[in-house]
């Protein structure tokens, strides 16, 4: 940072808060022209918030932004564009039925009026310069994810951007596509553009960038030159020292195999392989933690077990706690699984989307699990209402009444209703995805206690978490997943944060290194 002769963009002491949550605290960093800077950090470390301030989506509460040495006020995306800053978001903003060219010129007032053929020629020229392989007349709905990303990148280049920010650009790409993208970025660097890439993949940082700035929980940790650092140092900067949380953890009692997952492969809707040869065992009376960068396949894994995700190959075996009988859950619907006598409870990460119906009250939401019981045409409302009342009292749900639509409750209370309902079904397997996300400390501890009580009752608990400190104190074993592969299984009592952090970022290693 000592040489500032041609810093394209410099941030000084940027702070941004959302309510009580500090998203960025005193962040200072700079990017030069002809340089690639990586911003490294875990989920929720404030990387995207920081970049959104540069691209005009948020405005910083404190601090200054300098562009080419002059202070700049970036109050809207249009201001950012006037400073020639272009951001490529993780979620593409494209019109599916339009061609690449139509998408690129959309909303852009060019000299010489509207002429698709001339625009297509310009796009071809840009493609040639940087090595994109893109047919300007191809429709977006016919494109692969990486082609769509190219359209987004060309869109900002077409508008003359020379500071490019890419938000986790490789999250959706295959290794070959990633390599191709990196070649393009290197060519842009040679062309004198300043490039910022947000990522949490260490090997990409090391192979691509000139310098790395690390954020942790919104705080700026430091910037190092890539050539003078290594994976271990970066991991430590990223995950930090261990914090003690004092979550109680008992020894597993008489653990037995409850759920065995063998060589599971599956693809998502776009045909991308999302789970690769996943095998593991969940035991009764034990909490199995799943750690990993968000979107590494955790969701699909749980949904596959719950019967919501079709498998390409592999088996999922369930062992009945009483009889020890083995049954295969593969290709079964949730209803079939229930009819087989498997008591599986699932707390999905999308609470109001998959877990509860927002416009229905607590009682009705209880009935979503029990409406099939009884033989009468009419449903009995009393048992679910009693259950709702019981959950409200037991879990301290703050609600005006049982008749309040759950949509109106706060996030923590919604989660308590959902977890309460799932536990009330007295499961033998309990799966919870990010059950404490968005909850305050007290509610979080309440949820940990509930999970612990289930564990003592002999339930096989699977806990998908993002906070490594919590995983390390709550779980008996921790399985690490990276890009759909199991990258390691560690003992929750002896493992270290660095160990898990390294396993988390060890994704498809090697292939993109050279």
């Amino acid at each position: 940072m000592e040489e500032q002769k041609n810093a394209a963009i410099e941030l000084r002491n940027i702070t941004k808060t959302f309510g009580k949550v500090v998203a960025n605290k005193n962040v200072s960093l700079c990017v030069n022209r002809g340089e690639i800077l990586s911003i490294l950090g875990e989920n929720g470390s404030g990387k995207t918030t920081l970049m959104n301030m540069i691209s005009g989506i948020y405005f910083p509460d404190e601090g200054q932004i300098f562009i080419d040495g002059k202070e700049a006020i970036i109050a809207s995306p249009k201001d950012a564009f006037d400073y020639k800053i272009g951001m490529i978001h993780q979620h593409f903003k494209l019109v599916d039925v339009f061609s690449a060219t139509e998408n690129i010129v959309l909303g852009f007032e060019e000299e010489g009026g509207y002429n698709i053929r001339r625009s297509a020629e310009r796009i071809l020229a840009i493609s040639e310069q940087y090595g994109f392989h893109l047919d300007p007349m191809k429709k977006v709905y016919e494109m692969s994810v990486s082609e769509k990303q190219m359209v987004e990148i060309i869109k900002v280049l077409y508008r003359g951007a020379d500071i490019l920010i890419l938000d986790e650009p490789t999250a959706v790409l295959t290794p070959q596509e990633t390599r191709n993208l990196f070649d393009i970025l290197r060519r842009m660097r040679e062309d004198g553009k300043a490039i910022v890439i947000i990522t949490h993949k260490l090997h990409e940082v090391l192979s691509l960038s000139d310098r790395v700035s690390v954020l942790r929980k919104g705080e700026y940790i430091g910037t190092v030159e890539t050539a003078k650092t290594n994976e271990a140092e970066l991991t430590e900067m990223m995950v930090g020292k261990k914090v003690s949380l004092n979550i109680e953890r008992s020894e597993p009692e008489n653990p037995k195999e409850r759920l065995v997952v063998r060589n599971v492969n599956c693809r998502d809707r776009n045909g991308v392989q999302i789970l690769k040869d996943v095998s593991f065992t969940a035991r009764s009376g034990e909490i199995l933690g799943i750690a990993g960068i968000a979107g590494s396949g955790q969701r699909e894994l749980l949904e596959a077990i719950a019967g919501l995700q079709a498998l390409q190959s592999g088996e999922i075996f369930y062992y009945d706690p009483e009889t020890g009988e083995e049954s295969n859950l593969r290709d079964k619907t949730p209803l079939q699984i229930r009819d087989m006598g498997v008591r599986l409870s699932f707390v999905p990460e999308d609470r109001l989307g998959m877990g509860l119906v927002g416009n229905m009250d607590i009682t009705d939401n209880m009935m979503l699990r029990s409406y099939r019981s009884g033989k009468s045409v009419f449903v009995k409302r009393k048992p679910p209402r009693d259950l709702a009342q019981h959950i409200i009292e037991q879990l301290d749900v703050v609600t005006p009444s049982v008749n309040t639509p759950v949509r109106r409750l706060s996030g923590g209370n919604v989660q308590k209703v959902l977890v309460g309902r799932e536990i009330a079904a007295s499961p033998t397997v309990l799966m919870a995805a990010y059950p404490v996300r968005g909850l305050d400390i007290n509610s979080s501890y309440l949820i940990y206690n509930l999970l612990n009580r289930q564990k003592k009752a002999g339930v096989a608990v699977i806990f998908v978490g993002e906070d490594l400190d919590v995983l390390l104190e709550l779980c008996d074993r921790i399985m690490v997943i990276g890009s759909g592969k199991i990258t390691g299984m560690v003992d929750g009592r002896t493992a270290t944060k660095e160990q898990i952090g390294l396993l988390m970022t060890k994704t498809d290693g090697g292939e993109t290194h050279e």
Binding site: K93, V97, V105, G107
Partner: protein
């Protein structure tokens, strides 16, 4: 015989063409305006009111100024249907009301509005018949090209129509060109396909929706005017318009959202609509079966486009959904 059939089919088709061109423009902005039947009806009665006022203000209707006789009903018709478009836009775009409910309400409202004022005018002239006749105005509207008769059947098929019919065809062609070949068209299509993307690209989504909906309503309203002044020879009777508004909406689907195709589609629909007159020895009940044909054809087209699953023939992706920027 064939020439006169085609000519009648075109005359039947023109109100549908106006309606479908208007609805295509509206739907391209993502607004599904099911109020089109009501809007066309209001367009018709508004024109009738204008013509009625003008005719009554003259001592001798046959001495009317032909220019004024055309321009006054045109203006009142545009004004009436524009108001309907504004109501629809205000409710669905600004207040984000449900588009289907709003549209159906406007259809009900428009029909009631037309029948109320139609009935009032009929009472004013103290007519024996349940209709009002604006023959003088209609004659001005129905002035055809002078040389139409010189070319025999060809002239009858091509040149025998009044100016509004040619306006309808020209409007459809212009709309086709604007949608496909201009920046405004690109922006409008983006708004209907993916308003969030359009918004991010700096396009004023609400303005496009308002303008497209109001313009669409005005064009559809002209269809109502054409029906009264040309097709019905200036005779307004309540509920005489029938279900042409729904046919216009069916025509939008039939033409897979392309105004140039809807020119041909409108003539086909017009022909199917009157074909029972040209088939000898049909009983009353059989006639009704034949009147069903345009709808049957529309359903067949719907089935074909959903089987083909081609993205180009699908309705705009955000059709019928209100856009709210903060909603994710």
């Amino acid at each position: 015989m064939i020439a006169s059939f085609i000519q009648r089919a075109v005359v039947q088709g023109i109100p549908l063409l106006f309606g479908s061109t208007g609805e295509i423009i509206t739907e391209k902005s993502g607004n599904l305006n099911l109020g089109i039947p009501g809007i066309m009806y209001v367009g018709g009665i508004s024109g009738v009111i204008g013509a009625f006022m003008y005719e009554r203000s003259l001592a001798d209707p046959s001495a009317m100024n032909p220019f004024l006789a055309v321009i006054i009903p045109l203006l009142t018709c545009v004004l009436g249907s524009l108001c309907m478009g504004l109501i629809y836009s205000l409710l669905t775009v600004t207040l984000r009301a449900n588009q289907n409910v709003t549209g159906l309400a406007l259809t009900t409202f428009g029909t009631g509005f037309g029948n109320f004022f139609g009935g009032s005018l009929i009472k004013l002239v103290k007519s024996d018949m349940p209709s009002i006749s604006l023959t003088a105005t209609s004659n001005c509207f129905r002035t055809t090209l002078p040389f139409a008769n010189k070319f025999g059947p060809v002239g009858q098929v091509l040149f025998s129509y009044s100016f509004l019919a040619y306006v309808a065809i020209v409007l459809a062609l212009i709309t086709s060109y604007v949608l496909g070949r201009t920046r405004v068209g690109l922006h409008l299509r983006a708004v209907g396909e993916n308003p969030a993307t359009a918004d991010a690209a700096g396009i004023n989504v609400n303005r496009y929706k308002y303008v497209a909906t109001c313009l669409g309503s005005v064009i559809a309203g002209l269809g109502g005017l054409y029906y009264v002044m040309d097709y019905a020879n200036g005779v307004w009777s309540n509920d005489g318009f029938g279900d042409r508004g729904w046919l216009a909406i069916a025509l939008v689907i039939f033409a897979i959202w392309r105004p140039n195709l809807s020119i041909l589609g409108s003539i086909l629909f017009g022909g199917l609509f009157i074909i029972y007159n040209y088939i000898p020895n049909l009983g009353m009940s059989d006639q009704e079966l034949f009147k069903m044909l345009p709808y049957v054809v529309t359903i067949i087209v719907l089935i074909i486009i959903s089987i083909r699953e081609s993205r180009e023939t699908q309705p705009p992706a955000h059709l019928g959904i209100s856009y709210f920027r903060e909603e994710r």
